[in-house]
Symmetry: C2
Subunit: 220 residues, 2 copies
């Protein structure tokens, strides 16, 4: 999986629609990958060293919001610095006849840019809401909103979706022509992320049913 | 999710066994997270900028092997440079009564060190085998091994498991005491990665059944 950097700007509509073998420049593809994921990996340079942090995220239009703690130095170190945020969704193990032709079906988005800590309360709340709603749509409205003290411990980074690379692989194995005669099984083992039966908190108040937004999240 | 850096060295056995709330220093925990994952995110600094690449990996004892292409500049740029490799497994969405107390159950390993490109053919083959076997145990022996020309296009990075941080969160939500009286459902939505029914390559030779090592991978 290698990266192709493509500017996603409103001034290069042609580039936006160009599609390479595993590189897509379509903004809709970028949105689709981001909206399907739950965790991103935030890359920052801290004292000259790379750090890769898994974090929750959410998207509002062309801004990605990342959620962290004010106590996390690497997360805080991303403020006003160049970052790379990668979201990867694994869709299948592609089994070929030769070891070399094995591959994975996946969707990945790599976003480049300067991240900025959000300071205004309305923006921070909106970012946190986007993060929550990415994980469980409908959850925000069903819960108690954060108070001022709680918000003080939350760090919200914003990253514009200005430069990104989207890569998508689908389909079966592509073996060298002479290998199709081999007695080796080839195909795809699909990989999926599923949500199981909700497990109520043992301390849950009696009589509280599993709400619709949680039931909607469970994989049928 | 923040990182706690802990040296994993044979000279600090006490540190190895120390366990913090979400930080574990147990080498067995590190192995368990790495052996359960399929994709890692490799962080490198390229021309001063962070890059986060999703790659396949495998482990042999205390060395992590990463698989890439010789054509990928960021992957190649990791050679003899400091990297951060993160593996994250999402286990559950932790739903609390307040937005602020929401969390995720997860296992993550963050490994720090100098990566080195493997140059000797035996080492490269062993690394590639470890990568393949991490994805589908038993696959290597069932397929055609790479030839010299194919191996020339493969890049294998090795990273010693010398310094790492393992973080594991399990269990239900932890709300502020006054929030337990709220009429909000709380609990955990389990998240799992599953392997579906194998999809044979349309070009598969007739009469080739799905082999046992593939059937073993499918989630029952």
């Amino acid at each position: 999986m290698s990266a192709i950097t493509v500017p996603l700007s409103s001034t290069s509509r042609t580039a936006l629609r160009r599609r390479k073998e595993r590189g897509s420049t379509d903004r809709d593809d970028l949105y689709a990958v981001l909206d399907a994921g739950m965790i991103c990996h935030l890359g920052v340079v801290l004292d000259g060293s790379p750090r890769v942090l898994p974090t929750a995220y959410g998207r509002i239009d062309d801004t990605l919001y990342l959620h962290g703690s004010v106590a996390n130095s690497a997360f805080g170190g991303a403020d006003d610095h160049e970052v790379c945020v990668t979201v990867t969704l694994l869709d299948g193990l592609v089994c070929a006849r030769s070891v070399n032709a094995h591959s994975m079906n996946y969707r990945s988005a790599m976003i480049f840019g300067i991240a900025r800590m959000v300071h205004d309360e309305a923006g921070r709340l909106a970012g946190l809401r986007a993060v929550t709603e990415t994980l469980i749509p409908g959850r925000w409205a069903a819960t108690r909103e954060p108070n001022r003290k709680e918000m003080a411990a939350v760090a919200v980074l914003a990253l514009p979706l200005a430069e990104a690379s989207v890569k998508i692989r689908t389909g079966g194995p592509l073996d060298a022509s002479q290998d199709y005669a081999l007695d080796v099984w080839a195909g795809v083992v699909p990989v999926r992320t599923v949500f199981g039966t909700p497990e109520p908190d043992p301390a849950l108040r009696p009589g509280l049913p599993v709400p619709q937004h949680i039931r909607d999240r469970v994989t049928s």
